[in-house]
């Protein structure tokens, strides 16, 4: 897995309100030589409905992580809400076997399985890592 290729996770609020953030991220990524791949399929990270159903939130986030696992790419998030959620869910599911089993039980219905092979990071952290690599 190369560090210079990321799956870009836009989130809901960036296309809804803050296009400028997306534009500048794409420009910075281009300058740093990072290739951004579009998500083949997208759903909300789940954070807005965490208070309604924690299970649904875990499943939605895990589904996004599964899609990235299929492509064997790390995720780059723009919105800090999505970033926090995907990071937290990824780490929790990697370490909590019971929870992972539960979520995988849900994901089985749509033919996906969470394996925990990728990482999810927020955009500036990805840029930081790239700069470190180039030193």
């Amino acid at each position: 897995m190369t560090e210079l290729k990321y799956l870009l996770f836009l989130g809901c609020i960036i296309p809804y309100r803050i296009n400028s953030y997306e534009i500048s991220t794409r420009k910075v990524a281009k300058k740093l030589g990072i290739e951004l791949v579009e998500m083949p399929d997208f759903n909300c990270c789940g954070l807005p409905i965490d208070p309604v159903s924690h299970d649904m939130m875990l499943t939605l986030a895990a589904r996004n992580l599964c899609l990235a696992e299929q492509q064997n790419l790390n995720i780059m998030t723009l919105c800090t809400g999505c970033g926090g959620t995907l990071l937290k869910v990824n780490e929790t599911l990697k370490h909590d076997k019971n929870l992972k089993e539960k979520v995988n039980g849900y994901l089985k219905e749509i033919g996906l399985e969470f394996k925990g092979t990728i990482k999810s990071n927020i955009s500036f952290k990805c840029f930081w890592k790239t700069l470190d690599l180039k030193k």
Binding site: L10, C12, I13, P15, Y16, N19, E22, I23, R26, E38, M39, P40, D41, F42, N43, C44, P48, I49, D50, P51, V52, S53, H54, D55, M56, T59, L60, R63, T92, D96, L99, Y106, L107, E109, I110
Partner: protein, 186 residues
């Protein structure tokens, strides 16, 4: 010293009757992932002192909610508007000397309140948006046109069938329907 809110409450609200208390409530909450440490809270009040919401609200006191949960005032906590005020900034979690994850406990309380049929309108809207489009916010056509003008690639589409299926198996759609039935009764 009684808190401000207690002084404001009526005489009826101040009295806690023994039959209101559900001794199993705290165990029920502690089973939820993230809310294990509810019993560790020793009421120091650091959460309330640091809470940015409590500073501007007359009624939201995280410490009070923790104590009510520990005591088992299930109906009062779940029907209270206060549990929906937390902005999940996690300041209380960072500062808690007992490592109680107050935000997670509030999330557990909210989940339970939804199961009882209490759900603020905003969460209903967000949920139906996600099931309809995959995005939490309805993105207007003018925004999409602007994206094209700015030379941005088209937004990825959501697979709505799998979302519907997931909401079915996780019991999410049931939760949404619950409120609707109640509304019809009104």
């Amino acid at each position: 010293m009684p808190e401000k809110t207690q002084q404001k409450g009526t005489e009826q609200e101040k009295i806690i009757k023994a039959n209101e208390i559900d001794p199993h409530f705290k165990y029920e909450i502690s089973k939820v992932p993230g809310a294990k440490k509810i019993m560790m809270c020793f009421q120091c009040g650091t959460c309330t002192a640091d809470c940015p919401i409590a500073r501007f609200s007359d009624s939201y006191r995280p410490r009070k909610l923790m104590r009510m949960t520990q005591l088992g005032l299930k109906d009062r906590v779940l029907s209270s508007d206060n549990i929906w005020l937390c902005a999940a900034c996690f300041t209380c979690v960072d500062h808690c000397p007992q490592d109680v994850e107050i935000s997670s406990i509030l999330r557990a309380l909210r989940n339970m309140a939804v199961k009882e049929g209490v759900m603020p309108v905003v969460f209903r809207d967000l949920s139906s948006n996600i099931l309809k489009t995959g995005y939490a916010y309805m993105i207007p056509a003018s925004r999409l046109r602007k994206r094209e003008e700015q030379g941005l690639p088209p937004l990825p589409k959501a697979s709505l069938e799998s979302l519907a299926k997931l909401s079915e198996v996780t019991g999410f759609s049931k939760l949404l329907k619950k409120k609707k039935e109640e509304k019809a009764d009104d």
